[in-house]
Amino acid sequence: MFRTLVILALISVSNICSGQSHSVSIVSGRKPAIKLSYNSSLIYPGVSAGAEYMFKEKEIVKQKRKSKQNCFAREQLITMNLSWYHHSGFHDNIYLTSEWVARKTRKSGYYSEFSAGPGYSRTFLGGTTYRVGEDGSISIKKHAGYNYAVVTTGGGIGYDFSSRNNTPVSVFTKMNLILMYPYNSTIYFRPVLELGVRLNTIIFSEIKHKDDFSDNFK
């Protein structure tokens, strides 16, 4: 698990670091998208939904030997996500996160990304919770759980179908690490695997920009 995370992080970090580019063109534009994903740790189910907003995009063309070109886009995005997982007998966790995402999209439509950001978590304990008063009286505490500060980081890969046709959908898988503090005076961590889809809302509002973006890859 840890090795997978490290590999994903390294791939993503390498994507962020710009190589020597022969041609860089800045493409202005905004591509809001929404996502929905299965948000799981091993056998424990969950769901994540969110919206992302691109604030920076660079199209890079690298000249290779034999007059071949390597074209890709580097994007930076801000996302807001609301996620939940259920760990039976332990807790349910609902957490709201805002992440910065660095994404590299190839001409073929495949992309890789790295993300990190802060958030807030509220857990609900996985069983009836009792309180015992000083007089020995016992009561049930409703909605028992804890608030935590959260930091998430992760990396993943995906495929954007809009690179081939106008289908504004991409699929992705992403490994995230959730860090929660203060958890029993220490830091709780949990790896979470996401499998999901993204829907680019550009198809509804900024089709023109989309066409421009595709043309640049031709």
């Binding site: 007998g89 332990f90 996985g126 069983g127 919770t129 309180r131 015992v132 029993n184």
Partner: protein, 354 residues
């Protein structure tokens, strides 16, 4: 506008199906199950401690486990063998102490003290009786560090009257004496093993350390002795060597372990001030107060809590009904290493008293 017309027959079907679904959603009464698995939490002073009750809850005979540590989890005792051989007859209660296992909280480290754990334990028993009825019979079972909690609790006031009996497995009731006996055992058996040319280098390192640290152990020295004690068990051929990791890993998914919680809680507790506090704790002088039936189970090659420590407990308690059994193939984890003996002795003990 679309109008929908539903026949009476269809309405009846919908109502019937809805009732079936609702009936399926009804929670089973935890106190009436013969194969139950019931998780609840007890909140006390900044910690919500997980309690899992599994097995024959309807039988009304409960075995309340106090795990070792500090910081180990009750999860690791919930083995398939115990499920098959004890939970069929009794309800096993796995309590995660504060800052252990699946227990949760925020900034509660300052509350991790011995007295607070005793207070937590009192409240766990109160909730158990509230949840399953005042007529339940509770047997107390402790392992290792759990022995310190158990003896601290049993020797206070009338607490022992809450239990039908006490089962002490590889437990420590006196940490300073524990260190001395560990050192003596390491020296005695170590020298025998060197004479027999077995693991000579390993034993010589242990013997050298013990010879240069004769008593009045600091916390650091105490931890060092404990580390040697754990290693020493591996050098003894007569010990049944159990690979714990595959067992724990194998049951971690079926048991729904919150693995990372167990891990971070263990790391935190192992390095907490609680260890300093308990390093001078002893209850030998008050063991005479214990009069409830007691079963004492120790491993012959337990260097961590030597059998002589069990003998000290056995001879000092005032219980009329008491028995001590030493497993010839066990080290510090008799529950795993001699599981047949453990299950048999616990069953015999309970059946005689219920």
């Amino acid at each position: 506008m679309i109008s929908l017309t539903i026949s009476n027959e269809m309405k009846l079907k919908i109502i019937f199906i809805s009732l079936l679904i609702l009936a399926g959603c009804q929670k089973e009464d935890p106190s009436s199950s013969e194969h139950g698995s019931d998780t609840f939490y007890v909140e006390n002073n900044g910690s919500s401690m997980r309690v899992l009750t599994e097995g024959n809850i309807a039988g009304k005979v409960f075995i309340l486990l106090i795990h070792g540590g500090p910081g180990a989890s009750a999860y690791i005792y919930n083995t398939d063998y115990i499920s098959e051989n004890l939970e069929d007859k009794y309800a096993m209660v796995y309590w995660d102490q504060r800052n252990s296992g699946a227990s949760q909280g925020n900034c509660n480290g300052k509350n991790l003290t011995f007295d607070q754990i005793l207070d937590d334990f009192t409240k766990v028993i109160q909730v158990l009786k509230k949840r399953y009825g005042n007529d339940i019979e509770i047997f107390l079972l402790s392992h290792s560090f759990g022995g310190l909690i158990a003896t601290g609790f049993l020797t206070t006031g009338n607490n022992q009257n809450l239990f039908k009996g006490y089962i002490n497995v590889d437990g420590s009731h006196n940490y300073p004496l524990n260190d001395t006996l560990t050192r003596n055992m390491l020296l005695t058996i170590g020298k025998q093993e060197v004479m027999n040319n077995l693991h000579t280098d390993d034993w010589n390192a242990i013997i050298d350390y013990c010879n240069s640290h004769a008593g009045n152990f600091t916390q650091h020295e105490s931890l060092k002795l404990e580390k040697f004690a754990s290693q020493a068990e591996d050098y003894i051929e007569a010990v049944k060597h159990v690979k714990y990791f595959p067992i724990i890993l194998g049951t971690s998914i079926s048991g729904r372990y919150p693995i990372t919680s167990v891990l971070v809680n263990l790391l935190y507790s192992e390095n907490s001030d609680l260890n300093k506090e308990i390093s001078t704790k002893e209850f030998s002088s008050s063991l005479g107060k214990i009069t409830i039936p007691s079963l004492v189970l120790f491993g012959k090659y337990d260097f961590v809590c030597p059998p002589e420590l069990g003998l000290d407990f056995y001879t000092r308690i005032s219980s009329r009904e008491k028995k001590m059994v030493i497993s010839p193939v066990s080290g510090h984890n008799l529950i795993y290493q001699d599981k047949e003996l453990f299950s048999r002795e616990v069953t015999d003990f309970i059946e005689k008293l219920r």
